[in-house]
């Protein structure tokens, strides 16, 4: 797949009194970008949910390099960092639009649950397993 980028405009209600987007919102933007990425690769939330699988977040890591202001637009590039069948790690790069200045890097880790138990996608959702396995993980 070509690189996937999710575009998002910073909203007024996301600012704080320092005059920047509050840092908690980046976690929400990562989720929005992830949902759009999963749609794009053909395994949107509703398809996965129909298979009885949910994919909770087990960890997030965010490094804030440059603050974002109200009404600025950000492009968020999503990539698969690692995938084992049981665990998935995604990477995120936030760029200011226009100019492509890098403002934030982040990662999120996920497992897969059926009926509350950790499962392997190889056994439970082969289609998603094959899609995620196809990503060339960067060295």
């Amino acid at each position: 797949m070509e690189e996937f980028i999710y575009y998002r405009k910073a909203q007024y209600h996301e600012t704080d009194q320092m005059g920047f987007i509050h840092h908690s919102n980046y976690i929400k933007w990562m989720e929005e970008a992830r949902v759009a990425f999963m749609d794009q690769i053909g395994m949107g939330y509703s398809e996965v949910e129909k298979a009885g699988v949910v994919s909770p977040v087990t960890a997030v890591n965010v490094e804030y390099k440059r603050p974002v202001r109200f009404s600025e637009e950000v492009g968020i590039q999503v990539s698969v960092l690692s995938y084992s069948g049981v665990r998935l790690e995604l990477g995120y790069k936030f760029f200011l639009i226009p100019g492509n200045e890098l403002c934030t890097t982040a990662t999120s880790k996920h497992c897969f649950l059926m009926d509350g138990k950790i499962v392997s996608l190889k056994k439970q959702l082969l289609e998603l397993d094959q899609i995620l396995s196809s990503f060339q993980v960067p060295n």
Copy 2:
């Protein structure tokens, strides 16, 4: 019952770039005050939920009189404005602590649902019906 007041400190993540608490947060504070009020009158969320009843918000109305700043404390007085068995309207007065300056007034309207259908509490949850009916509605 004596008057019920819920106390809440304004948080940094609730501010916006105008330097005040963003107006959307008052809807969340009303919910927090309402949940605490229901606990106080003996019909907390989990009791009502066990009876299979949910009580969605059908309308909110908020009048902002004076902005609230980070780290200020607010007392939110909750009262029953009207109750018909099928519909409930609550009133909220937000006061700054200390000093009791009125900063916001608000109302919320609610119905009661079982299995997605509107029900009368008189039939489905007599205990809550009797509690809500006991409030002296102000003229």
Copy 3:
């Protein structure tokens, strides 16, 4: 002007445990639609701010008619309900896309401040005054 509609997809992080978009988010969506509307009529936030004018929300009113679910798209139609030079009231109709089912109606009231004092746009920001005055207020 033709009618103005702002489009917005409901996000996962906006859901609550009832399975719907939490009702507090509609206040944020109204703001997003209002910001886009002001941009569209040629008086975007940064233009107004450069003139030293801010326009806080003095009241909101929301009637929830049908809940919205994660990943549903909503169109929000914004209109000028009344404008006096000193006070502005906007109306909002939320429609589900596709199908245009009305899910929510709302209003917001605003005043205009310079240096913390209420001002008339006729005196302080004639350009915006003329734009807002040009709207045919519906009977």
Copy 4:
């Protein structure tokens, strides 16, 4: 100082449709705990701000071990992991109350800014520098 613990009840508006507190809220809870911790050690937000110093978040890291549900209470233990005069790293342990089951661990990194430039607290805010330096950093 004795260990510092901030107590917080999980709110309904913080839940998502999976039935748990949405993972973005932990970033807000960390901030609330951090603000309370700074108050406790005698360098509350307004004192620091009066000195012209702000302390933005440069990184966060969260590991979610067990989800939190609406109305559960969480205790958040805050500790100083490292402090260099220029950079500060705080650690957070989230425990369920009662029972003290560990549900989340997290860290946040901070720098200190005056007029938008990174400064050393040793030079700009000696009082806070001495307080932070006094913490016995765990090995």
